[in-house]
């Protein structure tokens, strides 16, 4: 059974057709990179999968269940987690509270009023482990708004994984980061995505070919190619449509 299936998904805004019949089938625990030129509809596709937008046509299945047009909270409960291109945090809350919020529903705490948050050992353990993994233990009591940009991006990823999703969508997690920071974040993503399905939008081709099991190339709202990185690299169609914009060969590292 596939973790995530898109069948003929369409989405247009007014007269502008952004997603034009996207088909995609992602296997469980696979790491997929979604690439494409600006305006190809990558973020729109994420919005459709995560329930932020409702597709005009087509179907979206998560773990074999039809979730087309379902509200974000239902998708989240069904095991979908997503991060945002622009950090989307609880700015006035501490790092710890941010992660606690993110982990509360899945740890069964939900809207409990009869016990303190600290009384749930599973929840506290989960948050402590996450702080450790993210390298934010020292910053646990800092407000999210007071974090550095890179730390906010890391917390954004942490919030996504805190709810124990079996399918994660990461929208440009390394955008705006230095080379060293990017490297650290990619290592982090590798660690936290083990045992989960991962779909990641990424512009850095080094990252894409280093991380992904398969690469999907989205051009003008259609999947142009979906294959192993090596095959994508040598695909002439992809080279002309997307990579050709940059000096194609130099953009593709030959590992």
């Amino acid at each position: 059974m596939s973790a995530l299936v898109l069948k003929g998904v369409h989405k247009s805004f007014g007269l502008t057709s952004v997603i034009r019949g996207t088909d995609l089938e992602i296997n469980p625990q696979e790491r997929v990179a979604l690439i494409g030129p600006n305006g190809a509809g990558k973020s729109t596709l994420f919005a459709l999968i995560s329930g932020q937008l409702r597709p005009d046509a087509g179907e979206i299945h998560l773990n074999g269940v039809d979730m087309t047009g379902k509200a974000p909270y239902l998708l989240a409960r069904a095991g979908l987690g997503r991060s945002f291109q622009v950090s989307n945090l609880f700015w006035s809350l501490t790092v710890r509270d941010n992660l606690t919020c993110a982990a509360m529903w899945c740890s069964g705490q939900r809207l409990g009023m009869l016990a303190r948050r600290q009384a749930s050992f599973a929840l506290m353990q989960r948050v402590d482990d996450l702080l450790e993994t993210l390298g934010l233990s020292e910053r646990a009591h800092v407000k999210a708004s007071a974090l550095s940009y890179a730390e906010q991006r890391v917390l954004e990823i942490g919030m996504t994984v805190a709810s124990e999703p079996n399918c994660m969508l990461l929208d440009e997690p390394t955008a705006g980061m230095s080379k060293a920071e990017t490297h650290r974040v990619i290592e982090l993503i590798k660690r936290i995505s083990t045992g989960r399905t991962l779909v990641i939008i990424e512009h850095d081709m080094n990252v894409v070919f280093n991380l992904a099991d398969r690469v999907a190339v989205l051009v003008y709202g259609r999947v142009l190619a979906f294959d192993r990185p090596a095959a994508i690299r040598s695909n002439p169609e992809v080279q002309s449509a997307y990579l050709g914009q940059h000096a194609s060969q130099s953009a593709l590292p030959h590992a």
């Binding site: 995560s50 006035s92 993110a102 509360m104 009023m113 948050r117 009591h141």
Partner: protein, 412 residues
Amino acid sequence: MPSETSVMHSNRDHQNAGTLLGLPRMKGLLLCGGMLGVAGLVAWGSGFAVLLATQICVLWCFGLSYQLLFGRTGMLSFGHAVNFGLAAFATTHAVRWLGGPGGWPIYEILPLFGALAGMLCGLVLGYPVTRRSGVAFAMVTLGLGELVAACFLMFPGFFGGEAGITLQRTTVASALGLDYGRSANQLVLTSCWSLLVVGVILWLAQTPFGLAIVAVRENPQRIEYLGYRTASVRWASYLVASTLAGIAGSMSALTYEIVTVDSVSLHTSANVLLMTVIGGAQSVLGPLVGAVFLTVMQSVVSDWTRAWLFYYGFVFVIVVLEAPDGIMGLFGRPRGERSTRSSMTRASGYGLFAVLLVVFVETCYQLTLGEPTQLPGWQDLKPPELKAILLCSGALVAAAIVLWLRSREVQQ
């Protein structure tokens, strides 16, 4: 078994939670002071002072319930009095049914009827209004308030029409054998229930619910992607707030022994909003400060001047503009920010302006209404002198406002 680090974290968390809610030491001191004050009033206080203290307790509870909705969940309600007032009516009817000879001795737990009525309000009325947030929510609650107020004349049997409905609290027997005809005993009971409500608010802040409502206020979009349905969280918050408002409404009915249309009106809804904002919507002591302020204005200053509502509105405007976190928020600011010279100058500037404004307004009242005001020496002034004072103070007030607007523009 909790690991060592997690225990350490939870301890730190606990301390953190303590400071988040305001200033723990000051809060403790104030609480002790308040309890001593209540005890002193019970022992030696005059009937009027006891009644004021009871009113403050009732308003504090009501303010706390509003704080949960507005301060924590970020829901600006213009119809919170609906829960308060309907619970007050429910309590009145409960007293009428249960009272009389041979009734159960349940006087102390009568506010539970209010809580139940408030909870029912939250369940039935809260569901539709919490489907929307922000401006739409504010509008819907405004409409709901008017709708319920309109029912007063339609169902005079239940609401007692324009005269309202009265009760006699002594008709219900006390479980403790106390005589609640004495207003001091009523004060003790009311303050006990208030402490219970404070305890509930402090407890809820530490539960998953307490964090979820803050998260909904902070970023309703993100919390949806974490499994929470914001409409449900808002409903839950409304439910708790209306239950607590029910307790307050019930205590208000028992204290005044009369409930009228005023208790569900927009006027009461507005008062609880003003009170909570003036005191501070984040600290549990905020509504207390607001309740004291409102009560003093309503019951003491209103004896002194007819313009008390004007001053009340003025203070509200100043608080919203200069101290958005209310009076308690001023104490929560970092020390350096609090004692800088510029803030001292600003404070004295406001003081001076307030004096000018009072002189202007009082003179104006004396001139237009022909009644001497309470300003010392003003009674002997002749109209020409009054007019001169009016012109001078008016010019100064206008000049001060212009200067103030200029300084704000410079800041921006």
